[in-house]
Each structure stands twice: as C-alpha cells, then as structure tokens.
Amino acid sequence: MSEGAFTAAGGHGAVPTTGVPSGEGAPARPRAQPLWEVFVRSARGLSHTHVGSLHAPDAHLALRNARDLYTRRQEGVSIWVVPAAEVVASSPDEKDAFFDPAGDKPYRHPTFYSVPDGLTHL
C-alpha cells in the first residue's frame, strides 16, 4: 500500500485513490470535487455551528448542496460553507502543549464566588 495516493475525503478515513478496480475498461474517475465544511446558524442571535461537510465543485453549488443536505428540517436561517483545505487545524502532536496547561487552573472557572438570590441580568 506504499505506492498510490490516499485521501480522507468524505470522512471515510484514509482511502486509496489509485489502483482501485472500478469496472472493466473504465478508468478510475478522479474525485475532482473539493471538500467543504458546513456551518449552520439555527436561529437569529446564535452563532454558526459546524454541522458536517460535503463535496461540491465550487462555492455556489456547495451552498446549495448544504441547503439541501443540512437544512431540510428547518435547522437553519443562515449557512456558511468554507473550503476544508482553508481550515487550519491544531495538530494532535501538539495536544499536550496546547491544552494540558489549562488542566490545573480551576480558578479560571467562575465558580469561586456565590451569586446573590434574585440577581438576574448577570
């Protein structure tokens, strides 16, 4: 499995894109369509939340595909689509350095004072 390309497209993990039998005589079709991450705002005043991803050739169709796939049950009032390739993610290798230092600092949580009864607009 060393030769040939792999892709994680579509959330299936690493799958080979070359050397896969795909019907007699028919050349393997390239997955030319890039991946898009979809964010949906469920109501005015709330923030856009990541709901999944999809394939589309460009932004116009990505937005329409997102509408059809992710807002069929009135989930949203606004959609963002973002090219997955443009998302910069933290590396799993840096997990310790990034996140562990916050682990022993419970005083950063607002749990060390009591809220008087009847206080509403805090």
């Binding site: 999809l54 116009h60 169709l61 329409r64 059809d68 796939l69 069929r72």
Partner: protein, 260 residues
C-alpha cells in the same frame, strides 16, 4: 380548509395543477439512488417532496370542489392519486416526459419551474382560497426549484464539449412539450375571467424571458422546432405514462387503504 360548494371548473383547474405536481414529483423520484452524486440525490428528492406537498393540497381541493361522486362520497387526495385511470389524469405532457439523462431532467425542470414561478406568484391573489393558500407556500418552493435548474443548465450547457452536447440534446427533447402549458383553453379562459386562474397570455412572455436568459448564459440554442404536442390536459398521454402510473399506484391498488 373550508369545503365550499361544488364548483366543477375550479375543481378541474386544481386537478390539473395537482396532477402536474404529482406526476413530476413521481418522475423525479425515479432518480432516487441513481443521481450523479449523493448531494444531488437529496436535492432532487427535496424537489419531489415539495411537489408532492403541492399535489396533496391541490388534489384535496379538487375533490372538495368536485362534489360527491355517484356513491355520495367526496373523493380524497388518495382516491384521486391512486384510483384514477390514465385517461383521467390531466397533467401537461411536459411533466411526464422521460427523465432521460441528468441534463434532460434539468432541462425539463427549467421549463416547468420557469412556468410555475409566475403561475404561483399570480395565484397568490386567486379568488379561490384553497388555491391561493397553496400558492403562498409553493411560490417559495418553486423559486428554489428554478434556481436549482438554472444552476445545472448553465453549468452543463457552458461546461465541457460533452456536457454541452448532451444538455442541448436534452433541451431539444423536452422543448416542444412546454407550449401545452400556455395553450388557449376554454376552462382557463373562464377562470381567468373569474379571477381564479393565472392568465397564460401574461405568463408566456415572462416564461420566455426567463428561459431565454438562462439558455443564453448556458450558450444553448433555443430549439427551432414548431412541433407542439399536446393532449395531456384532456387525458391523452405518452406511452410511458402508463408505466409511471403503474409504479405510482401499484401499492395502493394491491393493498387498498394501506398507510404508514
């Protein structure tokens, strides 16, 4: 929804519009699990589901306004969808034309949705409360259907050499059937006079402007044929329509009254 008194003209009009939506919805369902991509599979069935919703309301309205049949029963949406024969369906031929390839399906959708947008826009002001009620919801749905069809027609028409050729072939195939939607008709004339129906003479130029703009953008030629098949409104359908109905009606006829 109020039942109202029997009104055969409005019943026949609601039935036409309901049959259009029902039959095109059924045709689009044939794409289930066969679409070019998963996203499009869902999109096409969303369109079908919108159309089915329109059909349900319209057939219900048609049944109410047709009055009781010889057994004294008012026919329900299910009676009308599942228990009529081929010659009793009054949908336009355009909606029953075979899916062909994806390009042909999108060409058909463009021609039909470009008609449904001015149709439902006008019918929001219909004097029939049942039809006006459907229109208010349907106009938003079909605006998206048109957007979807335009997206693909332009993309395929102005795409590769192959996609252009096949898009043009699909358009040529369905084009002649569109004109039945605007054909002069005594029923529609009477109902336009009563403020119930949308006027085909007003809709045709709007339809033409929309379609020609999209075809221009898609670098597709407006077909020049003057062949104008019709007959759907009077129950004369294409050969393949019987097979469509068989699939649509089989379950209900085999298991009368079956429900989810």
């Amino acid at each position: 929804m109020s039942s109202g008194t029997a009104d055969p003209d409005v019943a026949a009009y609601a039935l036409r519009l309901g049959d259009d939506a029902l039959v095109l919805g059924q045709r689009l369902c044939e794409w289930a699990a066969r679409s070019p991509q998963l996203e499009e599979d869902v999109a096409l069935l969303n369109l079908a589901l919108d159309l089915l919703g329109q059909a349900r309301s319209l057939l219900t309205r048609a049944g109410e306004l047709a009055g009781p049949d010889e057994d004294g029963r008012v026919r329900t949406e299910d009676d009308l969808a599942f228990l009529r024969h081929e010659r009793e369906f009054t949908n336009a031929l355009l909606v029953e034309v075979d899916n062909g390839d994806f390009g042909q399906t999108m060409a058909r959708q463009l021609l039909f949705s470009a008609w449904q947008v001015p149709l439902w826009t006008a019918l929001c002001a219909s004097n029939d409360e049942g039809i006006a009620g459907v229109a208010g919801k349907a106009v938003k749905e079909v605006t998206y259907h048109l957007d979807h069809a335009c997206t693909w027609v332009v993309r395929l028409g102005d795409g590769t050499e192959q996609s252009h050729r096949r898009m043009q072939a699909g358009l040529d195939e369905v084009w002649p059937y569109a004109f039945e939607l605007f054909a002069p008709d005594p029923l529609v004339e009477r109902l336009v006079g009563r403020g119930v129906a949308a006027d085909p003479a007003v809709m045709e130029p709007q339809w033409r402007a929309t379609v020609e703009q999209v075809l221009g953008e898609a670098r597709l030629a407006v077909p020049e044929t003057s062949w104008r098949p019709s007959g759907g409104r009077s129950g004369q359908h294409l050969t393949s329509f019987g097979y469509l109905l068989a699939e649509l009606q089989h379950l209900h006829r085999a298991h009368p009254g079956a429900s989810w």
